[in-house]
Amino acid sequence: MPAIVIRDLTKHYGDIRAVDGISLEIADREIFGILGPNGAGKTTTLEMIETLREPDSGEILVAGKSVGSEPRAVKEVLGVQLQNTVFFDNLTVGETIDLFGGFYRRAVPTDELLETVELSEKKGAMLDELSGGQQKRVSIALALVNDPDIVFLDEPTTGLDPQARRNIWDIVEKLRGRDKTVVITTHYIEEAEHLCDRVAVMDHGRIISLGTPNELIDANAPESGISFRMRPPLTEEQVHAVTGVLTVSVQNGDEYHVTTVTPQDTLAGIFQAAYENGAVADEITMRRATLEDVFLKITGRSLRE
């Protein structure tokens, strides 16, 4: 049984179509990413699954149960981290987790949760004494407090420094090992590529592409880029003749950038051409397309705009 089934989901705010007819299945124990720029409808979609917002139309099943008709049963198996990290004032980390544990029928022991998010030594600290990354980890601990089957993390690393982001990724990897289904929204490409089994790319309330990161790249932005320097330089025509080269651009007389869908053949071809012309090829770098390129290709816009 899929963890989550969404059919024809829509949500309007006035004239704005925040979510515009989404259908989606998220498999059990999958780490699923929803990638898109701000305002794409990621959070609205999540909040409808989490029972925070009523859809205008469409159906959502969580673990086979309808969100519309059995919200309490759904809430028991969901773990939710909301985008904005908020806590009660004047409670310690441990007290906060205890309090939220009391909201559910089953609760994971607080010490165990703190170990999972690596905050055991902060149990007695007040929440406002923690760093932003540590607070995010507390909110992830709260999302796990009922030992949920399905965990929602809404932009868990937004605003964090690279080290704190790595910590969060490690925690998500731990969840994979515990057989949980995890749904993450993000606008960080690396995060989606690093963590997610499958990714849905959203824009203007629609899913514009869906698949594993590799599938998305192969389908939408299959070209790799290769940059190199050649001394003495070759002519542009000579470079263009190399196996598999699609486009060529030249800078500073001897710096070339080519695109190809067969990077291995093209690399061999570049060395072949250098050998044949008595030239030396160096400073070679290769860059495979990313989900950023996929997004750019489909929408014509950059993700971070």
């Binding site: 989490e50 029972t51 925070l52 969901l78 939710v80 909301l82 904005n84 908020v86 009391g102």
Partner: protein, 367 residues
């Protein structure tokens, strides 16, 4: 149930750690009480307040009344028997003189005229002074009138029946302490939980609770229970300090007092919730809550008895729920009356509470 108590405990902890709130909830009312008590608590009364009730309305009795009015040291006030005895109970009269019907007729028949003097058992000296002074005055005045009219002087000019009531040992302290208690509970209700609610709503905490299976109403219930616990602690503290320092009279049934404190706390919590439901932001909610609190603080007669106020302000005071809460606490706590004696106060509090609660449900929002 254990979970629910856990939530109450967490809520109490949060309040306990909010030092500024603690100051306003506990220290400030105690300081205010000590200050008012120190300034106005003295009972030094040099004049004797005498209530006079003339039921005979004859030439003689009118003469007696005007004769008494001329004596230094007496402050005389005329009225009905009920009015004047009530004033005695309130401690505003030291004694009440009642000139019974048929006073003049008795004199004309050569018998003693009937007079009743009501004094306050609990301050016997003042009562005694009043009693003898009154009898002396009446005797003189009526003897003069009799001689003037050529009537035979009876051996006893008047026959005095002495009655006494208890309870007018009450002083300013006994008025002020229940008032401060009412004020404190109102402030905690309107400013405390209601504003906390707006702050948490603004922060988005309720959204986080809403994605859990816990009904938000149960969470609110735990917050209300913790607010009631706080109100009872406030009551115990204020009465404790009031008794230790000023010997305030607490002779009401403790169960009734607790019941009234809870009722008042609920009424003002409902008022606070109404404010928090109507206001969009913490800023407007704070302003609105102060608009609710301040007029009541100064106009509802919590610091000083209403009879000290100009009459139009008395009308204003009686429009404010805090007046009824203060009155109920005073009657039951200090005078030891039963709940039936304050039925109007209770009715007003329940009514205001229910209306506020119903309206706040109507305008309620979680986010």
């Amino acid at each position: 149930m254990r979970q629910f108590l856990g939530m109450v405990a967490a809520s109490l902890k949060r309040t306990y750690r909010e030092k500024v709130a603690l100051f306003w909830m506990f220290l400030f009312p105690v300081l205010l009480m000590l200050l008012l008590g120190a300034i106005f608590g003295g009972t030094g009364n040099t004049t004797i307040n005498l209530g006079v009730v003339d039921l005979d309305r004859s030439v003689v009795t009118k003469g007696i009344v005007s004769g008494i009015k001329e004596i230094d040291g007496f402050s005389v006030r005329e009225g009905t028997r009920k009015q004047q005895v009530d004033r005695l109970e309130d401690g505003r009269n030291n004694a009440v003189l009642i000139l019974e019907e048929g006073f003049f007729d008795s004199l004309k028949q050569g018998k003693a005229g009937k007079v009743t003097v009501v004094t306050d058992k609990s301050s016997p000296t003042v009562g005694e002074v009043a009693n003898s002074a009154v009898q002396q005055v009446i005797a003189e005045v009526s003897r003069g009138i009799q001689q003037k009219m050529g009537m035979a002087t009876p051996p006893e000019v008047i026959s005095v029946t002495t009655e006494s009531i208890t309870s007018s040992e009450l002083g300013y302290i006994d008025y002020m302490v229940p008032g401060i208690l009412a004020l404190t509970i109102m402030q905690a209700g309107v400013l405390g939980l209601g504003l906390d609610f707006v702050a948490n709503r603004e922060k988005g905490i309720f959204r986080r609770i809403k994605v859990s299976p816990l009904p938000l109403s149960r969470f609110l219930g735990s917050e209300i229970l913790s607010a009631l616990v706080m109100a009872l602690i406030q009551a115990a503290l204020l009465l404790g300090v009031g008794w230790a320092v000023f010997r305030v009279h607490v002779k009401g049934n403790p169960f009734y007092i607790i019941l009234l404190v809870i009722l008042g706390a609920l009424t003002f919590l409902a008022m606070g919730f109404l404010v928090s439901s109507l206001a969009r932001t913490l800023k407007t909610a704070t302003m609105a809550a102060n608009v609710v609190v301040f007029p009541q603080m100064f106009l509802a007669g919590v610091f000083f008895p209403l009879f000290l106020l100009p009459s139009f302000l008395v009308v204003v005071a009686k429009c404010l729920p805090l007046y009824y809460f203060g009155d109920a606490l005073r009657q039951v706590m200090v005078r030891g009356k039963g709940l039936n004696a304050v039925w109007l106060d209770i009715l007003v509090l329940v009514g205001v509470g229910l209306v506020c609660f119903a309206l706040s449900l109507k305008y309620f929002r979680w986010e």
